[in-house]
């Protein structure tokens, strides 16, 4: 009897999980069977499905990219703060990437394991994974902070800081590192909430953090006059508050999975499982960090005003980032539609979903292109008031965005290959744009073009990656055609 009772409960949890992307709009919690959503994926109009699944994901992505911009935007408007502070802040971005890399290793690894166990109703194993995830987050967070603190100046200089920008970067990072454990826990628990059937709460947590940060940052900077440290403190405080709320949700003893005594002791096989799954997100984020370091170094070594160039890169990169994030949101909406229909062999629907997503994504990146090409000065002013930096950032934005319209297509198609289970192709394409093409270009071009070489590398690798993607997509379509005729 217990067996059956238990089963009912999980069916309900599962419906909830399946609807993770639409919970903002439809609060459907009825005890319908798990099969309902997939059927809809196979019959409902593709365009409607895409809207339904993509919009919440896009909102989440916009929230995440805003979150990344808040600090730089407010710091750029502190009176008398110049390009040096903004440049210093830009050298902390790869640092943050690295911290996220360690956080993701534990968080994603743990959440993936957790969802496998929950799918098997194995609550005993699941609760131990939760406990181990918390302990690992604390441990990794502490060790990362301690090591970073010990070598803070060296690391920042390695990441592109100069004598002039180092003090600002140090001010900011010291506060961020003190709160590093909180940051890791916040992200780790949010991933857990999502895996444990609370995608809605996870989404609210994200939004809460963004809003809190948006309120606290100007308050601490301008009202309390805390300067660049205030921005960092606001980030940490916002995460602290959200963490308390998350902990409250997860402490409810009525939850199937909750924080309780005796689950925190590390177990070898769980730790091993978490780390082996977490290795790939770790490597991805580390690669992202490496690329930024190489760009910063290239700018420092080849420019007569390295600090200004690095600051300009920080600004234009953040601008592009918003549009990339919106496209990523779109692809997250596409994934279940393509995945299900590919599985059900509705190839016409698969193609339709792909084409529609590509069109939307191209629209988004074309808007981004227009913004960066035609009003770069306006958007640069979001991040700084310094005329020299506005001019430099505007120029940088124009160069970086030359081929931006094709990025939408490239990202969507890369994720498309992943959705249909062709993981290796997806990884290859993703690496092309951001690593395989970009790094050699970054290392070679500056020899011939000086600083411009660094800037040109970025659009060139975008274009080459897009062309490669077209070829791989055509090959895939031909393959399907052949299969059909057989």
């Amino acid at each position: 009897m217990q067996y059956i009772l238990c089963k009912r409960r999980i069916v309900y949890t599962k419906v909830y999980l399946f609807c993770c992307h639409r919970t903002i709009f439809t609060n459907f919690m009825s005890n319908t069977t798990i099969k309902k959503v997939p059927t809809e994926l196979g019959t409902e109009k593709v365009g409607r499905l895409l809207m339904q699944y993509a919009i919440p994901a896009i909102i989440a992505q916009i929230a995440a990219s805003l979150y990344n911009m808040i600090d730089s935007a407010f710091i750029g408007h502190i009176p008398n703060v110049g390009a040096d502070a903004i440049s210093g802040l830009a050298t902390t971005f790869p640092f943050m990437n690295l911290s996220v890399a360690f956080g993701a290793m534990v968080g994603v690894g743990g959440a993936t394991q957790l969802s496998v166990r929950l799918g098997q109703r194995d609550y005993d194993s699941a609760k131990n994974i939760l406990g181990n995830l918390v302990t690992l987050n604390v441990l990794v967070g502490l060790i990362f902070a301690a090591v970073s603190f010990a070598f803070l100046d060296d690391i920042l200089i390695f990441f592109g800081a100069s004598e002039n920008t180092l003090p600002y970067a140090r001010d900011y990072m010291e506060v961020i590192l003190l709160g590093n454990v909180v940051t890791h826990l916040y992200f780790g628990i949010n991933a857990t909430l999502r895996a444990a059937g609370h995608p809605q709460q996870a989404m609210y947590a994200t939004i809460l953090t963004v809003v809190m940060n948006f309120v606290l940052t100007p308050l601490l900077i301008f009202v309390f006059g805390m300067g660049i440290r205030g921005a960092a403190l606001a980030t940490i405080l916002a995460q602290c508050i959200t963490l308390v709320w998350q902990a409250k949700i997860l402490s409810n003893p009525n939850e199937l999975l909750h924080l309780q005594r005796g689950i925190y002791k590390l177990k070898g096989h769980i730790v091993k499982g978490i780390l082996s799954i977490g290795m790939s997100p770790f490597l991805i984020n580390t690669a992202a960090c490496m690329v930024v370091i190489i760009i910063n170094k290239g700018l420092r070594n080849n420019s007569d005003n390295g600090d200004l160039s690095i600051a300009a890169y920080g600004i234009s990169n953040r601008m592009q980032f918003i549009f990339v994030m919106i496209v990523l949101g779109l692809t997250q909406g596409m994934q279940p539609i393509v995945g299900y229909n590919y599985g059900a062999k509705h190839l016409d629907r698969v193609k339709k979903a792909l084409v529609q997503t590509i069109l939307w994504a191209t629209l988004v990146t074309t808007v981004g292109f227009a913004v960066c090409e035609f009003i770069p000065g306006v958007v640069s002013r979001i991040f700084t008031t310094e005329p020299a930096l506005i001019e430099k950032a505007s120029w940088a934005m124009r160069v970086m965005s030359v081929f931006m319209p094709v990025i939408g297509f490239q990202i969507v198609t890369t994720n498309f290959f992943q959705s249909i289970g062709k993981v290796n192709k997806s990884i290859f394409l993703s690496l092309t744009r951001q690593v395989l093409m970009l790094i050699p270009l970054l290392l070679i071009l500056p020899h011939y073009l000086d600083e411009r070489g660094v800037w040109y590398s970025m659009p060139i690798s975008d274009m080459v990656a897009a062309m490669l993607t077209v070829i791989m997509l055509i090959v895939q379509f031909r393959e399907w055609k052949r299969e059909k005729t057989i």
């Binding site: 099969k35 997939p38 979150y67 990437n97 949010n190 790939s280 980032f321 994934q335 299900y340 992943q418």
Partner: protein, 206 residues
């Protein structure tokens, strides 16, 4: 009494599949091995070939399913994918539970002994065999030379172990994780079937 279910794990080339077939025949119950995939496909509407791609193989798309987070600096948005092997395993497990709830049957592989660990009437069996017997059996069934067959056996073990231990919390082929572990080289296929039949009959009182 409830319906009962027998799960059989096996080393590659141990004769486990033949033993399962013979035992099913002797007991007059249905056997599910690869046919499980059809069952899962029918229930979910996902094509059986997709399940085959992920069948008893280490979850390769774990790496891929995480790729949707690349570029997302501050959020881990795990994109949902129905071709994610974790999801496929979940659907397949659901199919296994449905079958085990409704009829007396034998289920071969697919971590069934873990998936059904709460089933009120289950016997879990693991079948091994001497290395030479396994290699010989594979040489015959796959038409391979001795060396190739030995390698095939080794790879098969590795694949099954990593599949099993990824999805289950128990350990593949470890005696304490099963009710009966038996080496089919000792009694031969027929003898092993007779032995297992006796065990099952005594246990379930049939």
């Amino acid at each position: 009494m409830n319906n009962f279910v027998i799960t059989i794990g096996r080393q590659l080339g141990s004769g486990g599949k033949e033993i399962a077939e013979m035992l099913a025949k002797e007991l007059g119950i249905k056997l599910y091995d690869k046919t499980l995939l059809q069952e899962a496909s029918r229930e979910s509407g996902i094509d059986a070939t997709v399940f085959e791609m992920a069948d008893e193989r280490e979850s390769s798309s774990v790496f891929g399913s995480l790729f949707s987070i690349h570029g997302s600096i501050s959020e881990y948005m795990l994109g949902e994918s129905y071709l994610d092997s974790n999801k496929l395993f979940e659907i397949q497990s659901e199919a296994i539970r449905n079958i085990a709830d409704n009829e007396n049957c034998i289920i071969v592989g697919r971590c069934a002994e873990y998936v059904l660990r709460d089933h009120p009437a289950m016997v879990s069996i693991f079948i091994t065999a001497d290395h030479n017997d396994r290699v010989n059996r594979i040489m015959r069934s796959e038409g391979l030379a001795h060396e190739a067959a030995a390698e095939f056996v080794e790879k098969g073990d590795k694949k099954r172990r990593s599949y099993h231990d990824y999805y289950a919390t128990t350990h593949w082929g470890e005696a304490r994780c099963y009710d009966v572990c038996v080496n089919s080289s000792r009694l031969g296929l027929d003898g092993t079937v007779a032995f297992l039949k006796q065990f099952v009959k005594t246990h379930f009182g049939i």
